[in-house]
Amino acid sequence: MGFTKTELIIKKSTPEDKVIALAGNPNVGKSTVFNNLTGLNQHTGNWPGKTVSNAQGICSFCGTNYVMVDLPGTYSLMAHSAEEEVARDFICFGNHDAVIVVCDATCLERNINLVLQIIEITTNVIVCVNLLDEAKKKNIVIDLDALAQKLGVSVVDTVARRKKDLQKLMLEVENILSEPYIKKPIVKYLEPIEKAIDIIEPLINQKVNKQINTRWLCLKLLDYDETLINSLDKFLGFDLLSDEEINNKLKEARNHLVENGIDVKSLRDIIVSCIVKRAEDICKDTVKYNKETYITRDRKIDKILTSKLTGIPIMICLFALVFWITISGANYPSRLLSEWFFWMEGKLTAALQYIDAPAWFIGILVDGVYRVLAWVISVMLPPMAIFFPLFTLLEDLGYLPRIAFNLDKYFKKCCACGKQALTMCMGFGCNAVGVIGCRIIDSPRERLIAIITNNFVPCNGRFPTLIAVLSMFFVGTVSGAFKSVFSAILLTVVIIFGILMTFAVSKILSKTILKGVPSSFTLELPPFRKPQIGKVIVRSIFDRTLFVLGRAVCTAAPAGIIIWLMANITINDITLLAHCSDFLDPFAQLLGLDGVILLAFILGLPANEIVVPIIIMAYISSGKITELETLSDLKNLLVANGWTWVTAISMMLFSLLHWPCATTCLTIKKETQSIKWTAVSFIVPTVFGILVCIIFTSIARLFV
């Protein structure tokens, strides 16, 4: 189970560029600082672990280019996971010119813990106390001057959304680079440890004459941090511990520790508690808060959102509400768009006929490319443009970790990790993103389970399909305003089914190919934050909606050509399309589908968005109905091709449970570094999809 450990390669535009690392605890606003400094759009949201890869961008300030590197959030530098290792290695050996440590003013003490560790390692550290506005609301007062003095580094307070504050921060970076300060040891350890450091430090100083803090290095050698020493050897270009002299000194130092009652095991505990206590000490004099009022509001909200009685019902209702707003809001614009596209189709055909374009050309362009594109845009764009902002709003509020909190017990029962709920939420947007998000799960076994089951959450490529089928076949009889309510409830039921499948399959995996017990984990519930609504809308439309739509369009256009060719090339007077669908038909019937639907799913491998347009084109090419202005026309087309409610449900089930799209498969390959697990991720959902469809169809046919 070798997962990717991405190494950082810094892209400087000129050798004079300065490299600035942005470090900090998870969820303190590093990415917001980063985005505002570089003008880039790293994904942000209110939950720990969003930044899983290392972003870099250029920030120009007073004529100098700064390469800003956004590191994944870490609580400490004593790496536990691959991401933390990346962050630590970059801080230790990354050749940066300065490190900005972003801190959360509302829980400064824990943040200072990391600050102390970074100051121990490197010079040119700037502490950026962020979220000061939130701290003020919670009656937390921080004496920044005193803090700077105690830490011995410069401290800048910011509200990362304010440009002015970030200029102040960059000014400080400039100052530090022009006038490096002299630093003194910031954390004093117990006497025997200090003595042990003294024993080896002179020798290490001699052997390692690169820019690395020897005091800290000695500490790590005593502690024997294996992953660090591997990285260190790579950095130095030789194996430090193969040196006889160093080994002898180390032995001497360790003996000194043991004589004073500190064995190797307790050494790390003592080191950690010295740092934590120092942080406590520093904050005692610099941070004052009124304990009574602080976090009471969050507590009240949490009492409602995660209580035994209301927690899960509220969660389901919230999802249903999001779906309802999406469905009812998308209805009208979808119709407008599709009417407009249909009108344009007539004009386009007329124009092409006017210039005497050959019939096959009109066929490919209009019936092929244009129709698929028109469907994808008119059916996908409106729901996405509504769903993404709503979901981002929930994300920014800080609701997603509460979902993980509510559901963790069930994940534990399946021997999986509660954070899987977060990766599932990401999967609603795009399963590939969900798979990358699985990096927040530390245990490799649990991470694989999350990756394999992520596809059971329908991404927005499948959402519109589900909504369209639901509204055609199941809400037809309900009228008026309740129509969309009913659709939303049905969609919620479908999603809940997907979640139940996730639990079931996770459990089966933990009992078979991924045997193991649930591992320990800590889940942070961040404070609720008021989202910046305007920004959320702009960001989710431009970054997510248009991005996803662009990808769908890119796959839809060539798919349109292929499907048109298949529908128009004949062998023995039967179209290629019919040959294929006839071949698949017997098996597809077993699943409650037909050959065309199954073929559409297979051809839809590059992107799920194009499944329905392929079905439509295949049916149209058999020449039954050609006018498709409204959803009821579409229903007529489907019914004319033998669709019943059984077909509709089977289609939805198979849409929910089948192979991941090509992009997701490639992402899984990249994340797991293993063809085997990519194959498993492909096969497992497919097998379950086939089984569920067969079982459902066999039972349903008893009643028809």
């Binding site: 609580y75 400064l108 950690v272 976090i295 017990k409 509660g418």
Partner: protein, 76 residues
């Protein structure tokens, strides 16, 4: 041995000091990272709908722990 209390025994709204950390491996280090060491004050905030995990206030941050882990944290 009735007087040995673990974090798991802490009722909602109660506060206690950590006496000893029995956890081993990565969770031990993770807990230390978030500042949970001997002497740290912890308040029990809220149970999740299924009763487990439970949210605790640790040095100003809300952290949820599973019962398997909270049982390894001795308090007084």
């Amino acid at each position: 041995m009735n007087d040995i209390m673990t974090l798991k025994d802490l009722k909602i709204g109660q506060t206690a000091k950590v006496k000893q950390l029995l956890s081993i491996g990565s969770i031990r280090r993770r807990l230390q990272d978030i500042g949970l060491i001997e002497g740290t004050e912890v308040e029990c905030l809220q149970k999740s709908p299924a009763g487990d995990p439970v949210a605790y206030l640790i040095r100003g941050a809300v952290i949820a722990l599973r019962s398997e882990d909270s049982v390894n944290i001795l308090i007084s």
